[in-house]
């Protein structure tokens, strides 16, 4: 039925052979955020925040305070070495409050409820030891939760995403616009800050859905109609853009009837992530790898899932994990193609999204590039099936495993069965020694 690549039941490279189901939430779980090496927090539409132990799956705390669904969550670790590693998390809710929680004691530290609108995003600027809340306006707060400054009312829609840029700047996605703000130390020399709007970038045709910083020099935005723009982080100019592709790219192979079934949803850039070389974009049902240097897509999987990809993340080992509304999580590996295949590989980003107009030039350009650059492809190495509803997000904990959260109210911890087995043996012998059952006799 579907053109989605499937993998059989034999998945040698898939390390996750053990799972723990974490129950607690009573509604969709939307956010997972890592606190430290072994703890994470989860939050969702039920307004409750849970703290979990990623190793044991133990529920550490259940934080109640919000009356409506959580809209944003951010960890706020103390940069101060003197302060004994105080881990805080910030949560914003549709009840127009932001609460600061202490992860060690599980208690509410402070609550701010002077917002005029729902805070949709939270960003912590560690360097300046302040945090920003983005709603219909942008507010700057310090650690003690004093409001340092705020912008004027921007739009009713409000800020949907925030990203930190060099030189005390932040980029805020407000509808189709990208607004650059700069923070100035206030004149009176006190701890205060002022915020000023520096620039408005209006290059996107549709709402900006994702905003990610690649490095100190670059950041990337993606929009609902599938535009991807690479920006210079210092002078806020467009370095590269794939907009034209969205609009005009059409592959000759594309069947006419597909056009009818096309909907903006299927090309919206849901999530972006990056490493130094590439930007990984979750576009519709597919995953695309865009190389920053080559300024083109080097690999793609047009239908990676049965429905929209909601979150992707790059793992250190050239692997990529994606989760989707279809309830599955898939593990991909970026592999180099040894020989140039005869068939035209994905030439452009989103050539499936055509309007029936052939673009030979683009094809030729793409082919030209193939000659001097290695081609890559995404190989499916494993899938994790457990959730019965959309997987909203996941959190990669390295060797501790992978936590996924879903609309079925569950969080699943996926673990490497062999490692867990070894750890259990270790615990077993420790306990034997502890109980005195293991007596050393010489």
């Amino acid at each position: 039925k579907s053109s989605v690549q499937t993998i059989g039941e034999e998945q040698i490279q898939n390390p996750y052979t053990e799972l723990l189901v974490l129950k607690g939430h009573q509604d969709i779980v939307r956010f997972l955020v890592q606190i430290d090496n072994y703890r994470f927090a989860s939050a969702g539409d039920d307004g409750i925040i849970f703290l979990w132990n990623a190793q044991t799956g133990e529920k550490l705390f259940e934080l109640h305070g919000h009356t409506q669904k959580i809209t944003a969550i951010a960890p706020f670790s103390s940069s101060d070495a003197s302060e004994e590693n105080k881990h805080l998390i910030l949560t914003a809710s549709a009840d127009r409050t932001v609460i600061v929680w202490d992860c060690t004691s599980g208690r509410q530290v402070q609550k701010v409820s002077c917002f005029h609108s729902t805070v949709k995003c939270l960003t912590v600027l560690q360097r300046l030891d302040v945090w920003l809340s983005g709603g219909s306006d942008l507010c700057v707060w310090n650690r003690k939760l004093d409001l340092l400054c705020k912008t004027s009312h921007l739009t009713d829609a409000g800020i949907s995403a925030l990203v930190e840029l060099p030189k005390n700047c932040v980029a805020a996605a407000v509808g189709k616009e990208l607004i650059i703000f700069r923070l100035f130390a206030s004149d009176d020399g006190s701890e205060g800050w002022n915020v000023l709007e520096e620039k408005r970038l209006v290059d996107h045709q549709d709402n900006i859905l994702s905003l990610v910083s690649v490095n100190d020099l670059t950041f990337v935005t993606g929009s609902h109609v599938g535009e991807l723009i690479v920006w210079d982080a210092l002078d806020w100019t467009k370095q590269a853009s794939e907009c034209n592709f969205w609009d005009s790219s059409a592959h000759p192979d594309v069947q006419p009837e597909i056009k009818l079934s096309q909907s903006p949803n299927e090309t919206s850039v849901q999530h972006l992530t990056s490493d130094e070389e590439c930007v990984f974009a979750a576009v519709g049902k597919g995953i695309y790898v865009y190389n920053l240097q080559m300024k083109r897509v080097i690999a793609c999987q047009r239908t990676a899932h049965d429905s929209s990809v909601l979150h992707i993340e790059k793992l250190p080992n050239r692997q990529l994990i994606s989760c989707s509304e279809d309830g599955s999580v898939r593990i991909w590996e970026l592999r180099e193609k040894q020989q140039l295949p005869a068939e035209p590989v994905p030439t452009g980003f989103f050539n499936m999204w055509g309007f029936g107009r052939a673009n030979k030039q683009a094809n030729q350009a793409a082919k030209k590039m193939q000659e001097n650059a290695p081609m890559y492809f995404l190989e499916l190495v494993g899938d994790l099936i457990g959730h019965s509803s959309a997987v909203q997000m996941f959190l990669y904990f390295g060797e501790l495993g992978l936590a996924t959260c879903s609309a079925d109210h569950l969080i699943i911890l996926w673990k490497d069965g062999e490692r867990e087995s070894r750890l259990r043996s270790l615990t077993l012998f420790q306990k034997l020694a502890q109980n005195g059952d293991l007596q050393l006799k010489f």
């Binding site: 039941e9 189901v21 019965s388 043996s425 012998f429 293991l438 007596q439």
Partner: protein, 933 residues
């Protein structure tokens, strides 16, 4: 289940006899020497041949003061059971050997009648003429209208098999004591009620008499007393005296140390009783004058409906008066409880003694295997409370005696068996006196053969010499329990000086003939169970509520060795250490499959031909020293050398096929250890499980279904493999009955996680979810054609990687392949086993072997952890694989089974008590195949 079918050559099934008889006779050349009684057409186990009843039963008799000994009821209450057996005659027999030191009446120096709280006496007697042997439990109930206020009763367990009675003496004693305790509790209650009523009557009578006297006094101005008045005054005085007497009796019965009947069944009544007693205890018994006051009626508020009657002056006890029935004597509730208990006893001890013993042994061993027993065993019996402490008895069977007894012919066995209790033959007068105890303690040791020769002589003489009943009643043993009440008595009879022979040597004893013709061949007071050497060091140990502190030790072995037994223990555990080390060291050696090899040294319970030569013996606690604990888990370093793998086998894998005798012997050799172990031995006596009756039926049914399953489905192996390796098996079908049957059949292969109940769900109609696979390992699922059914199937295909699917309708199976060997032994479709319960036992024995392998794998240190810090994980992993393949002899998928069991063991062991632990789902990414018939 530790017992394997090849250890016990038969199972407890009533139909067994019929079937064996119906089988065609063997050709002459194959026939084995016939069993002596075979001429009667019986199988070797039909020992009832000479008896007049078909199976064991329980008889309750009374020594009625009106008509003498009479049978009251039998359990089971079925005329067929007792058959032509003369119950009246046997009642007479058993009632004539009552050793209760009962005395009620006016003891010298006491103004009032004293109630004597009599201990039950426990006697074993045999009647060779009737072919009946009985455990007889005498008890006394109180009845206000009876002579001396007492009614002697007895309960007897009657069997044609004397070995059964002798070997199960302790268990019988324990169980019957419970029943007796229950009866007596009810009786005390009823007796107290009756006394209260009587007191009211008396009080009323006194008031009436008093009034009459007053009226007479007023009417009489003559200044002298008429005879009528004197009579009245006398009558009044006797009523007063009677009141005081009865109040005293009431006080006595209430002051009876209320021993709690430790059955939960009785608890509903306890608060009630206790309250009543507390009342009685707090309020001083009112003086007669107080009683007259109307305000005192509240004392009897709980029997408000009773209207006092006038008591005639001379209410002499008449023979025409009807005595109370047993049911009236005890509270109805307690009476039915007792009957339940007796039925329970009857069920528990039904069947051959061999079966009972094997069952007890395996239960006791299972209790020790705390680390692995949860996997496949029904552990419901582990929750049972340990037997009451006061009912300790002589569990300690001296092993050599038993061995000998198995070799002896049937006639002298009586005595030999006595030896197993005390090796002593003695006479005991009706009342146990201290001198008697002393005399039997100061016995001399003689050679065994001589001893029974002598005994037999005596026996002959006795029979001849008996006049009144020159017949063949032999009392084979009695036991007097040392309960809290008779402390002083047991203290008095405690031998202070150690027997000169010490140790566990037989204590011969002088034997005299008691006045009547009954020969008491042995008594077994509770002290006898304590080995003499132990008695010497703890002369006062019995005075206390015996071994009350051993409560904990009663059921489990404490991992830490007592300092006292360290010496003896060392001997036992040293080779074990070596063996352990060996398991880690010898991986490279050539011992590809040491689990197949049997121990060479020592005695083997089975010969090569698999015939059991040595009958199962009552379980002895001593074994605990060498296994079931990690008490001496070794470290690798510092212990050179190692044992042969076979020795390792014999010691650690005994759970599998052989109940290792060699290790048993070895333990019993280290005397110092035994002495300490023996101190707690008696209350560890496993009580036979009568409570598992439904479970047994279930087993039988499950075994039968499983047998049918493996015969019917050629793909039974991969299905069973799925279950053993922890992959959920879903049985899909339209008809609930068929699905449930399959689930029941397969449930015997499901390892238990040990968290809650068995992870089996018989019938589900809603779509399955991941959580279900986490929780259940065997699920029966409904297939429907409705849209909901589509969802069910959709969910199933979505999660197909976690499940194996057995389609009961189309008879297909979709699951990973299996190429190992374990399951084919477990489920051979050409198996000759016909019976469900036999097959169940077969399965259990194979599974137990698997468990022991998993245990070994789990707890071998170096299979999981590096020997030194620099050792890479890969080499540990390689060692692990090597061990599984070479040492444990596992192939292919069998490795996964053991690994899965090992994971369960680990999880169970490291799980913090109290926390349920997060249930985790382990799975593999392996391809599935579709199997069709």
């Amino acid at each position: 289940m530790i017992s394997a079918p090849d250890v016990v050559a038969f199972t407890r099934e009533e139909e067994l006899e019929d079937e064996l008889c119906s089988e065609p006779p063997l050709p002459e050349e194959y026939s084995v020497p016939l069993f002596p009684f075979a001429s009667q057409g019986a199988n070797p186990w039909a020992k009832v041949a000479s008896s007049k009843f078909t199976r064991d039963f329980i008889l309750i008799s009374e020594f009625s003061e009106q008509v003498g000994p009479q049978p009251l009821l039998t359990i089971p209450d079925d005329a067929k059971v007792s058959g032509t057996f003369d119950l009246n005659y046997f009642s007479l027999r058993i009632m004539s050997v009552d050793y209760q030191a009962s005395f009620v009446g006016h003891p010298p120096g006491s103004a009032y009648p004293k109630l004597n709280f009599v201990e039950d006496s426990k006697v074993v007697l045999g009647d060779s003429k009737e072919g009946a042997f009985a455990y007889v439990h005498h008890l006394t109930l109180y009845d206000l209208e009876a002579r001396g206020f007492v009614r002697p009763f007895c309960m007897a367990y009657i069997s044609a098999d004397e070995h059964k009675i002798m070997q199960q003496f302790q268990e019988l004693s324990t169980e019957f004591s419970k029943a007796s305790e229950c009866l007596k509790t009810g009786n005390r209650k009823a007796f107290a009620n009756e006394l209260e009523k009587k007191l009211k009557d008396l009080d009323y009578t006194r008031t009436v008499l008093h009034n009459e006297t007053e009226i007479q006094k007023k009417a009489n101005d003559k200044g002298y007393y008429t005879t009528q008045a004197i009579e009245k005054a006398n009558e009044l005085a006797s009523v007063e005296k009677s009141i005081i007497e009865h109040q005293d009796l009431l006080k006595q019965i209430r002051s009876y140390p209320y021993r709690k009947v430790k059955e939960s069944d009785f608890q509903p009544y306890e608060p009630d009783c206790a309250l009543g007693q507390a009342d009685a205890g707090c309020d001083p018994v009112p003086a007669p004058s107080d009683l007259a006051e109307p305000g005192e009626t509240h004392l009897y508020a709980h029997v408000p409906s009773y209207t006092p009657k006038l008591i005639k002056a001379k209410s002499a006890k008449c023979f025409d008066k009807k005595l109370k029935t047993l049911e009236e004597l005890c509270d109805v509730y307690f009476f039915t409880q007792t009957l339940d208990q007796l039925h329970q006893i009857e069920r528990t001890f039904r069947g051959d003694v061999c079966y009972l013993l094997t069952d007890q042994i395996s239960r006791a061993l299972l209790k020790q295997q705390r680390v692995t027993n949860f996997l496949f065993e029904d552990l419901s019996f582990l929750d049972e409370k340990p037997p009451d402490k006061q009912y300790r008895g002589c569990q300690e069977l001296s092993q050599d005696a038993v061995e000998k007894s198995s070799e002896e012919s049937s006639a002298p066995k009586v005595v030999i068996n006595l030896g197993s209790y005390k090796s002593s033959v003695e006479s005991v007068p009706i009342k146990m006196e201290q001198e008697m105890e002393d005399s039997h303690e100061a016995g001399m040791t003689e050679s065994f053969t001589f001893e029974h020769q002598e005994n037999l002589d005596y026996l002959d003489a006795d029979i001849k010499g008996s006049i009144s009943s020159g017949e063949s009643i032999e009392v084979l043993g009695t036991e007097k329990s040392a309960s809290g009440l008779t402390k002083s008595e047991s203290q008095a009879s405690l031998p202070v000086s150690p027997s000169p022979q010490g140790g566990r040597s037989k204590v011969g004893s002088r034997r005299t003939v008691s006045e009547d013709s009954i020969e008491v061949l042995s008594t077994c007071p509770s002290e006898a169970l304590i080995p003499e050497d132990f008695k010497a060091s703890y002369p006062s140990a019995i005075n206390e509520e015996p071994y009350a502190d051993d409560d904990e030790g009663g059921l489990r072995f404490t991992p830490k060795p007592n300092p006292g037994d360290a010496g003896g223990r060392e001997d036992v555990s040293d080779p074990e250490n070596l063996a352990r080390v060996d398991s880690a060291c010898c991986i490279g050696k050539e011992s590809p499959n040491f689990f197949e090899s049997l121990p060479d040294g020592g005695q083997k319970p089975c010969d090569e031909d698999g015939v059991v030569r040595i009958p199962p013996q009552p379980y002895r606690q001593v074994e605990q020293g060498s296994r079931g604990t990690f008490g001496s888990f070794p470290s690798h370093e510092g212990i050179p050398g190692g044992l042969l793998p076979s020795e390792l086998d014999s010691r650690y894998l005994t759970g599998g096929r052989e109940v290792s005798k060699s290790s048993l012997d070895e333990c019993s050799d280290s005397a110092s250890y035994i002495s300490s172990a023996a101190s707690t031995c008696s209350d560890r006596t496993p009580s036979p499980a009568g409570r598992c009756q439904p479970a047994e039926r279930h087993r039988k049914k499950a075994g039968q279904n499983a047998l049918r399953f493996i015969r019917q489905y050629p793909f039974a192996h991969p299905a069973i493999y799925s279950l053993l390796s922890g992959r959920t098996l879903v049985v899909l079908g339209e008809e609930e009955a068929i699905v449930k049957k399959l689930v029941t059949a397969l449930s015997i292969f499901v390892p238990d996680g040990g968290v809650t109940a068995k992870p089996v769900k018989h019938w589900v109609t809603s779509p399955l979810h991941l959580l279900d696979f986490q929780k259940w390992k065997l699920i029966g699922l409904q297939r429907t054609v409705s849209p909901a059914g589509v969802n069910v199937l959709h969910a199933l295909s979505r999660y197909s990687r976690y499940v194996s699917i057995l389609d009961a309708d189309s008879k297909t199976l979709r699951c990973p392949g299996y190429k190992g060997t374990v399951v084919s032994r477990l489920a051979d479709h050409r198996t000759q086993i016909k019976r469900g319960s036999t097959y169940y036992m077969h399965v259990q024995s194979v599974l137990t072997q698997l468990c022991s392998k998993a245990f070994l794998f789990t707890f071998c240190h170096h299979l999981h952890l590096p020997i030194n810090e620099r050792e890479p994980e890969e080499s540990v992993a390689a060692r692990r694989v090597n061990f599984l393949k070479l040492q444990l002899g596992l192939a292919n998928e069998d490795i996964k089974i053991v690994q899965h069991l090992a994971e369960l063991l680990k999880l169970r062991y490291i799980q913090e008590p109290g926390t349920g632990g997060n249930p985790l789902l382990r799975f593999d990414y392996v391809p599935s195949f579709l199997y069709k018939i």
